[in-house]
Symmetry: C2
Subunit: 331 residues, 2 copies
Amino acid sequence: MSEKNLTIRDIARLSGVSKSTVSRIISNTGYVKEATREKVENVINELGYTPNVSAKELSLSRSDTIGIFIGDISNQYFQEILRGAESVISDSSFFPFICLAGTEKRQKLYIEELMKRRVAGVIFSSSFIYDEEAISALVNSTKAISVQTDIKGIPNIDIDNYSAAYSIGRLIAGNGHKKIGYIDSYNTIHSLSERLRGFRDALKDSGLNEDSLIYTVTDSNYLAFDAARDLLKDRSITAIQCANDHISSNVYSVINEMGLKIPDDVSLSGFDGLPLNDLIQPKLTSVKQPLYDMGQMAAKKLIELIETGETGKEDLILDYTLIEGQSVLKK
Amino acid sequence: MSEKNLTIRDIARLSGVSKSTVSRIISNTGYVKEATREKVENVINELGYTPNVSAKELSLSRSDTIGIFIGDISNQYFQEILRGAESVISDSSFFPFICLAGTEKRQKLYIEELMKRRVAGVIFSSSFIYDEEAISALVNSTKAISVQTDIKGIPNIDIDNYSAAYSIGRLIAGNGHKKIGYIDSYNTIHSLSERLRGFRDALKDSGLNEDSLIYTVTDSNYLAFDAARDLLKDRSITAIQCANDHISSNVYSVINEMGLKIPDDVSLSGFDGLPLNDLIQPKLTSVKQPLYDMGQMAAKKLIELIETGETGKEDLILDYTLIEGQSVLKK
DNA sequence: TTGTACGCGTTATCAC
DNA sequence: GTGATAACGCGTACAA
């Protein structure tokens, strides 16, 4: 059975060698005679010795931990990015340290902890940054990268939000809708304003005037129930575009609750292409972002930055896919 | 700007005191003159000094980290438990270390890491344990608790699965269904076998014979598509009960895909009461488990164990709620 | 190929 | 109140 608090010294003593030899065997570095290695490894296995990470990190003045800073874990959007990033990191020589930074208090806590742990790098994915100063201090003390998140001075992984939103706007207008509700997110990040800009331009280029877009936003809880109910009161609105699929799934619930039919009574479309869209009937028109890939890409790029020692400034833009479902009526 | 590798010694030197004094101030322990404290704190803030966790842990021979060992993060079931556990831990003096242990490789990696980090405790929530020996070693080296998970020798948080499944079985049979498909999970944990047992007994007590339950299981990917298609070929089956809502949501997709109507063509019911059920039309009949609470309870109980030094053996059973939606036809 | 000695940054135990 | 000093467990020159 594994006893507690075994140290490298115990192993050394019990196998009749010095600490350094044990260290060499554990970290698999330097020359060690095969016979010695076997002897020591036997002792290690028998006693169930496990090296102490804190001591190792302290000794090396370095940690191989990478922080993954996630905004809201109950949102599938962030889950996908997290899964992608984690998969790459847990498959590397680094170690993922997941931070569920969904509230102001948690952001503070986790940022502090990441600093205290001297992490090798951080991946940010959050639609809101509460304390820019703290983030800035963290970013300055380590390597960092973001996924669709606004943080100054670090590379960002994203898609071309303007162009994606433009496409879906053209699609909806092209289907003959003339009065279109738009439910934006309460959060104010660049990718969201780009989507709105792209959507607006699409309507304009389709010959619709400015009044054709009825703009609303979700409340601070990041839900969309009230916004949706407001829009649905105006029966001249024939289509609703949501800034992301977290919102569109909530709007879907409201529409069902009110006994309305999609797309006959109202058209619905979103942005993200989350897995939960599979539960929506009829199939939702949306823009699919490669979220898992974006997470993976962020992790790969970050590891590269750590290993090369470079800082990296250039953003990476990945491809999106327009998904045409049956949720937007052709008039 | 925060410079790297500042130590307690630098702060001491620059504020004209000794390391010990700085340490006292940081850890807020022992007597320090107010004037000294202010002086030192100013230096700390100006330089942006952050204490080094590894050194602290090493010095104390103790870590205040609690591991949260989660089976499958893309399953909302685990998300709820994770969120509950994290909320309690991040609000305590301990720190959450989240392990996405969904694959055999990852379980090995994370268990090893938890041991290396000398964590204060671990919360297990996973429907599969790949290496019982490794888990056992970890459990023996620290405090541990589980949520609806089979690990020997530690307390488990659960509901009365037998009774819950019995209730839903009586409900379905009471609605006149005589041939009922049951889709079990591929995973083999105690709570699942209890559900099956309870459901079986309910049908028996409703006067149905053994042949009335058509048993199938999901495949190793934990999906349910094939199992559902198989069941749906037999048009004499009028209702399908799923062992959990991860399965029922997949079955819902299959039913829609095949153009069948719930509950007219087939009834569907599940187990868990996940948030994503809100997207299912009509409202799904299911058993709601207090998953978030179970996570919270696990964390609270674990912290208690850590602080009292006790091991704890007694399981905790929480209440469930039978949710009667419109997805089971009354015949 | 192996052993010795020092340092990593912090806390705790003593003295003062 | 405050300051030396010895741990904590490990890696790594430098010797041997």
